[in-house]
Amino acid sequence: MMVRSTVVVLKKWGYAKYSFAIIFLLSLFTNTKAQTVEEIIQKVKTKLEKINDYEAEGKMKTNVAFIKAPVATVKVFYKKPDKLLILNETGISFIPKGSVNINLNNLFVNMNAFDIIDAGRDNEGLRVLKLLPKSDTADIVLSTLYVDEKNMLVKRSKTTTKENGTYELEMNYAKYLDYALPDRIVFSFNTKDYKLPKGITLDYDDGSEKNADKLKNKKGTVEISYKSYIINKGIDNKIFSK
């Protein structure tokens, strides 16, 4: 009888051990995942707030179905809180509407205006955060951020607006990772149809514009590959009035 009760106690102790181990592992797991969306936003924001201003130099490729344009050397100027200018210093560049969104500070500076929803993770393991504006009159309808939690970097964003369609932004980081400044961005935007009357253009019909329908309702992209950044050295406000 004595021996039997001793065996039962030992068995119970064994179950308890397993239970403790499982609880311990679960607690570890939940601790790593437990960053709330507010915490993530705050950490990303803190990283972005290191930048007061920057002047970046890079090459810009414009890929719009109806535009043939050379690769341009551009300078991008940013100043807190929301000033941004893409400037082709010598030539002409078609700058899409909404290009101010290539700097995420513009979104983060006004984060109180959004309700943030945790949408889990995407296939690449990036944390997906959905930002819904609190105001009914805001131009942004929905903004989705894809955050690399390890480095606290926004890798992708998708913003749907009332007036200007949907903007998508994809960013690659390398040299300026500590400042959350990308080395390459691809900005996608909606383009409206382009058409001028032939009576104005008096085109020469060389047979190259037969597939005009293919040019309609396409997405356009602007890709900027940054060569260098000059960070927090001060920028005159006058430059943004160009």
Binding site: T90, F94, K97, K198
Partner: protein, 296 residues
Amino acid sequence: MWNLLKIELFKIFKRPRTYIAFGAIAAIVFLFQIALWFDGKTYIDLILSNIDASFDFSEQFKTRLLNGYFVCFAVLNILLIQMPLLVALIAGDVIAGEANMGTLRLSLTKPVGRTQYMLGKFFASSIYTVSLLLFLAVLALFGSILLFGTNDLVIFRSNSIHQMSHDDIFWRYLAAFGYAAVALTTVASLAFLLSVFADNSIGPIIATMSIVIVFTILSEMNIPLYDKTIKPYLFTTHMVAWKGFFYVQSNEEGATIKGSIENLPAILKSLFVLLTYIVLFVSSAIWIFRKKDILS
């Protein structure tokens, strides 16, 4: 032949009416440049209004867009349609004018063959045409560069926009002016041919103008029936091929390929059509003139 040519050139450039065309071109180019100098932004806004929903256009963008190359293209776009009329003024008069004055028979009493005589007159008309074009080139291109400076050139076609960097433009203008010289010589040769039939210059000048106007309207009309049946055979369809030098190729990412032409074979085909017309008109004129009984 050289002496004949000198005599014919002397005749053309001695007449005050020859300079009407130069004056008209100078007036149109200056008026256009002055209008764009003072109100070019309105013109630019009109062109950009089609895409301003998708792009932001700063004042700097508009100022740079309105550069000398762009203004020259706009001037040529308008003037190269009107210039055939100015060319016809001289080329249509070259034989008929002599007949009208009663000097044609006298001229042919000289020991010169009729073919040589006609070739001399045709080459003189062609030199006048080229000099008119050179005058236009200097005013429209260099004048506009002087007034508006240089920058990238953006061409707005009906369905696409082509941008060329500033160092990839000048050679295109040289090629375009070279092509335009052939195009205008085609009109000169038509007027030259019609001039053989008349005894006063009004007839061939008006007939040439009428043909050019009707053919230009047909060339610009978008009617599927005419697109393949009539348009490819009208010389006016091919006269605007100078613009093809400003249509560029792009790579898969949509970036302009420097030094490229979108459809060079199409331009060469148009050039061949125009040269064929010139040969046809001039040889017909000579053949008819050789058989003609000169009475005046």
